[in-house]
């Protein structure tokens, strides 16, 4: 378990300076923290693929972007990932809350909870299941991998890890 503000500070230490997303309860502390930073630091997107579009534009204009979403948004994001990010080879950190992990959640989360990491594997997006014990290492790995490979990279966030 770690405080959301510490998570945000680790992201900022790695140079992340453009945030967009659609909130989830697992990420509510992170979103609150980003919203308090300053105006338009975190952009409230209407859909997850729209957040990815903004992040891609911001990357091409010199920013280091991160997109926050519930794993349901991974479904919404598939075309943006495959026909924008993976062909133009642009990096982005995907901070994805893992609803339905282990089959314990509301019914609407169970299928995506089971398959979300398989989807990432299918489209060759590197990911790690985020651990608060090795938080700094995970975030550094994500930042280095996305910049080095020019790819989106995901950190999967389970319930109760960020408070």
């Amino acid at each position: 378990m770690m405080k959301s503000v510490e998570f945000v500070e680790l992201l900022e230490r790695q140079g992340f300076n453009f945030f967009a997303g659609v909130p989830d309860s697992i990420l509510k502390g992170v979103v609150s923290c980003l919203l308090e930073r300053r105006e338009n630091y975190y952009l409230s997107a209407v859909r997850e693929d729209d957040a990815l579009g903004m992040a891609c534009g911001a990357y091409m204009a010199g920013r280091k972007p991160a997109v926050l979403m519930q794993n349901s948004g991974l479904g919404t994001s598939l075309n943006a990932l495959t026909s924008l990010y993976l062909i133009y080879k642009t990096p982005c950190l995907l901070i994805i809350s893992w609803r339905g992990h282990g089959g314990v959640d509301a019914p609407e989360h169970l299928v995506m909870g089971e398959v979300c990491t398989k989807i990432l594997e299918t489209i060759d997006i590197p990911y790690r299941v985020f651990s608060s014990e090795r938080a700094e290492e995970d975030i550094q790995w994500a930042a280095e991998t996305m910049s080095g490979q020019k790819l989106p990279v995901a950190l999967m966030i389970k319930k109760g890890i960020l408070v």
Partner: protein, 189 residues
């Protein structure tokens, strides 16, 4: 006015404006008419033209950023209008070439035939919303509007092609489009 003529009219008036072109015929016609490093051709990801332009505009408030969208593209992600209208970036200019059809897939009708996209942009909070349907008015609108604070939504009514469209594809690779555009963004305004 056909879309190709409208695209050419706008492109010829530009200087160093950054332009995100939507997928399909808009990208193809722009590429074949007046290719420039400031043109980003979004060859896939339909619906995300304004999202990309918004990201560029927010990251570089010192540069003028345009989205060349289509009616099908705007309709696919209508929520983005609300986003632009609420964030209100002054340097964002959203142009919609509205021919009422999905041109690159065989002219199937879009809902823009019955829904006024300019009214939707106005409701969403764009600062300036205008509609034009002929070349002289388009030239005048672009010259005037680009000196104003955005976000601007310019609905450009064009007539669809009668035959299936065959403009050549963008021959640059996606990575070439990206690198060239990033270099153009990096230049001072």
């Amino acid at each position: 006015m056909k879309r190709q003529e409208a695209i050419e009219t706008v492109l010829r008036l530009l200087t160093n404006e950054l332009v995100i072109h939507c997928n399909g015929m808009v990208s193809r016609e722009a590429f074949n008419t007046l290719d420039r490093p400031e043109n980003f051709y979004m060859i896939g990801s339909m619906g995300l033209t304004a999202s990309l332009a918004l990201g560029v505009a927010l990251a570089r408030p010192d540069r003028k950023v345009m989205a060349f969208d289509g009616d099908g593209g705007v309709l696919m992600n209508l929520g983005t209008l609300a986003e632009v209208g609420s964030i209100k970036p002054k340097n964002l200019f959203h142009l919609c070439f509205d021919n009422g059809v999905y041109g690159s897939t065989g002219n199937q009708p879009t809902l823009a035939r019955t829904v006024d996209l300019d009214q939707m942009a106005r409701s969403a909070g764009y600062r300036i919303v205008e509609r034009v349907n002929e070349k002289t008015a388009l030239e005048k609108a672009v010259k005037t509007l680009r000196e104003k604070d955005g976000p601007v939504f310019l609905l450009i009514k064009v007539v669809p092609e009668e035959k299936y469209e065959t403009a050549g594809r963008v021959t640059l690779s996606p990575e070439e489009i990206r690198d060239r555009f990033m270099a153009a963004v990096g230049r001072q305004a």
